[in-house]
Each structure stands twice: as C-alpha cells, then as structure tokens.
Amino acid sequence: MNVGLPHFLTISAALFSLGLFAVMSRRNAVGILMGVELMLNAANINFVAFSRYVEHGVDGQIMSAFVIVLAAAEAAVALAIVLAMFRNFGSVNADTVQSLKQ
C-alpha cells in the first residue's frame, strides 16, 4: 500500500459523514456540537492533505489554523447557548426548545 492523497480524502469523507449523521440524529445539543466538530476536523484534514500533496506550501495549513480558531469561537458561543438553554428550559434536548413555534 502506498499512502497517498486519496487515503486522507477518504478518512475525511468518513469523518464528515459521521459528523453529518450526528448533527441530524442526536437530540442532545452537545452531541450536535460534537458532530459539527467532526465535520470541521474533516475539512481541516482536507486542507492539510492538499497542502502537502498538491500545493507544496503552507497556505493550506494556515487556512486550517484559521478553521481551528473559528471552531474555538463557535464552541464557546454554542456551549454558552446550551447552558442558557439548560437554565431556561431545564433540558438540553434540541427538540424541547420550541418557544417560537407557538
């Protein structure tokens, strides 16, 4: 076996699909957030793999560092929202929060 670009892209596709499944099937809001993190990591693997095999520079790595920073910001805001949700509704299930429905 010669490890190349397609192997990394396949791992990334698997991670992305798993994250998508988690986002759609989890009821716990923190579980949904974990799915989002998996998807962001999949995109990051693609950035770094293309940077190594195709671009031969560090631009892809810089982009993935930006993605990591944005993921940190997103996680902080999302977890604050989850805690506020728990305080107001007593639950972290995404489908118990439907005040706007009425």
Binding site: M1, V3, G4, P6, H7, F8, T10, I11, A13, A14, L15, F16, S17, L18, G19, L20, F21, M24, S25, R26, R27, N28, V30, G31, L33, M34, G35, E37, L38, N41, N44, I45, V48, A49, S51, R52, Y53, V54, H56, V58, D59, Q61, I62, A65, F66, I68, V69, L70, A71, A72, A75, A76, V77, L79, A80, I81, V82, L83, F86, V92
Partner: protein, 183 residues
C-alpha cells in the same frame, strides 16, 4: 512499510472513536471518544508534516474545546427519563443523507486521477509565522477580532439576568371586563 502501519493505526484511531461519538447513547462516553478522534486527527497532521497545525490541534481542541464540551456535559446532566424514544424517523433520513454524502465523496475521490506528488517534510512553523505577519496579516487580525467578539458574546449569554426573569408578582393583573366596578 512502517509508515503504512503508522498511517493505518492513525486512521483507525480517528475513525473508530468517531463512530462511537456518533452512536453512543451516553453523551459522556461520546465526549471521551471525541478525545481519541481529535488526537488521531492530530497524528494525521503530524504524518502529513504539518507540525504546527498538529500541536495547535492538541492545544486548542484537546486542551480547550474538549474540556469546555465535557464541562458543559457534566453541568447539564439530567436524569434520563423512563421512556426512551427510539426515533426511527430521526435515524433513517440521517442515515440516508450521510451514506449518500459519503458515497458521492468516495465516488469523486476515486474517479479523479490526482496529480499528487509529495513534498519533502520540513519544519513549517517559521514559514507559517512569516506568512501570518505578511500575506495573511488582515485575516489574522480579523480572526482575533472575531474571537474577541465571540468570547464577549459568550460571557453576555451566560450572565445571570435577574431583572429579566418573570416572577409571579411581575405579571400584571389581568383586567376582567365583566367585573363590576365597585369603587
């Protein structure tokens, strides 16, 4: 040969706990499985010669985001209710979409002849630092602003706001139109 073995180990370390993250009914177990997935992804970065990104991944994801996620999980534990709905209506569309996306991506990956040539591994940190201060100076400053705004926003969201909370005496008495005016 050894490199291939390391790659396989890293790939398994990434994907197998990710499956556990998705399917575990216990959210705490899912959080700890996410730890192994993130470490595996960091190992893949190191395998790809991206040393700076690998260390950043460990520091920010494992040291920051994952701890935050686990704290939130621990603080929002609710005792599981007796009835567990096994929502097939929820799993079937998700499985169809996820498998469809994976199939499409895999088809695209295998059908393209990648003109890939590997570049020699060399330390990247100095070059990344130089580029961040020259070519990417505007995105670099901008992302720091975004991070600051997100932190302030999270702090405001999480703040206890007593004056906003409705209590029984806050609710104004409803005026009953049929009530006789006595005074």
């Amino acid at each position: 040969m050894t490199a291939d073995l390391i790659f396989v180990i890293l790939a398994l370390l990434t994907v197998v706990p990710a499956v556990w993250v998705v399917f575990s009914p216990n959210i705490v177990h899912a959080g700890f499985a996410l730890l192994f997935t993130l470490l595996g992804v960091s190992g893949l970065y190191a395998y790809l010669g991206a040393d700076f990104v690998a260390v950043t991944q460990v520091m920010v994801y494992v040291g920051g985001i994952l701890v935050l996620v686990l704290f939130t999980v621990m603080m929002t534990r609710v005792p599981p209710s007796g009835k567990r709905r096994h929502g097939l209506d929820r799993y079937v569309p998700a499985a169809i979409l996820a498998l469809g996306v994976f199939g499409l991506l895999y088809k695209a990956i295998t059908s393209v002849q990648w003109a890939a040539s590997i570049s020699p591994a060399q330390p990247t940190t100095a070059e990344i630092g130089t580029k961040l201060m020259t070519d990417y100076i505007f995105p670099f400053e901008y992302v720091s602003l975004v991070l600051l705004a997100a932190m302030v926003g999270a702090a405001i969201l999480i703040r206890e706001r007593r004056e906003d909370r409705y209590t029984a005496e806050d609710i104004p008495e409803t005026v009953d139109p049929d009530r006789e005016v006595t005074s």
